[in-house]
Amino acid sequence: MALVDIRQRSGYLFLVVTLGQILLISAQVNTKSGVPVIERVTFGVFSEVQRGFSGGLSGVRNVWSGYVGLRNMKAENDALKRDLASAQIAVQEQRALADRTRGLQRLLELREQVALKTVAANIIGGAATPDFRTLTIDRGTRDGVRTDMAVIAPGGVVGRLVVPSARAAKVQLLIDRNAAAGAIIERTRAQGVVVGSGDDRLRLEYVSEVSDVVAGDVVVTSGIDGIYPKGFIIGRIEQVEKSGGSYKRITIKPAVDFTSLEEVLVVLAPSQARDAAEGPSE
């Protein structure tokens, strides 16, 4: 029997491939059992490719800006940036510390919350598709990072860790449509939930219509989600609208510029959300 040239049967091929993918989607939607193995394996392999490309790209950029361009100024600029980043992190820790000292309950929790154990990570890749807002960092399970650990930058909250492999990890940015964080308005202590909108702005939801909220207010993490440490800056309120319902419609400009991130910190403190999901330890 002669073999059929599939190029002459593209309609059948299309049907078969489409049907296969519909079955694939159905299988995943029905079973919600964490990260699929194929995703983890593919991510692990591809993160190495990303590492190589990122290294190559960084090399080219470094050669251009460091040797061809302003050699001395770049070194000085890098040093200043490092100093500034350290100072900003120190300021954020001080801000978090000041918040916590306001109440007795917070005071009791001070010891375990102030000294955040973190690990620095470089960003080696972005999202594979523009519809998801993720980053790949060069730290993995070998460095102690685990799912649901918070990721922060000198400017503020970046996101949470979703898929760790041995030497890399995927971070879901706070601006991703599926991301959310417990939040509190620093001035009035009104609580809400910050959710990503898929673009470069965030929404603050579940803030009562009667709450005192104005543009320019600083929004910080409330810590109630068990992932993000309390008191870290999320952003500033840009717009407050009346929705006509029980809650205000609030837009936040993130404190972090997600398009220019190069280094982040992973908070190694145990995540309550992850521990709750994993159950009691022995």
């Binding site: 694939l24 972005g126 594979a128 598709t129 993720t134």
Partner: protein, 169 residues
């Protein structure tokens, strides 16, 4: 040989998408270099290669995006198949028709992708018209430029060689 070329092109597009694209594009407008490669391959190779490259590229993106594996694949399969059919049924050699194909392919990809997510109640996209229009325009510009480069570069090299040999004589 052709399959290896397609796989390589998709892999390079994925690598560029995850490393270089975030430096090139700012704000809410984001290009999808992988989609550009799929449409490009479909236009020059036909529906079968187009749909297979779409399937491969979409599944790879899904696997790397913490998304439901198959949704992006299905969207790009459809886009690759239809772009391949358009490439074989119509003359798509001028810049404007190519721009329209790339623009339409991005819009179709977004409709299928977001439509499936909304249909399965897995994700909500609000009103993404401006973002999709921005992405479609950016993809179309990159696609048209890629076609122009791939067509003009070999000719330019030939002319340069011919010019050099004439000078030697």
């Amino acid at each position: 040989m052709k399959a290896i070329g397609v796989i390589l092109a998709v892999a390079v597009a994925l690598a560029l998408q995850t490393t270089a694209a975030r430096f090139l594009v700012r704000g809410s407008v984001a290009v999808d270099l992988v989609l550009v490669v799929v449409v490009y391959v479909a236009l020059i190779s036909g529906p079968a290669t187009g749909l297979l490259s779409g399937t491969f590229a979409g599944l790879a993106q899904d696997a790397l995006s913490s998304s439901v594996i198959g949704i992006g694949g299905l969207a790009k399969t459809l886009v690759g198949f239809l772009a391949g059919i358009i490439g074989t049924q119509f003359i798509v050699t001028a810049s404007i028709p190519r721009f329209v194909v790339f623009f339409g392919a991005t819009v179709l990809n977004a409709c299928v992708f977001m439509g499936l997510y909304v249909l399965l109640d897995l994700r909500h996209f609000g009103t993404p018209y401006a973002a999709v229009a921005g992405q479609a325009t950016a993809n179309a510009v990159i696609g048209v430029v890629a076609f122009q480069l791939s067509e003009l570069l070999p000719g330019a090299v030939e002319r340069r060689r011919a010019g050099k040999s004439r000078l030697r004589r």
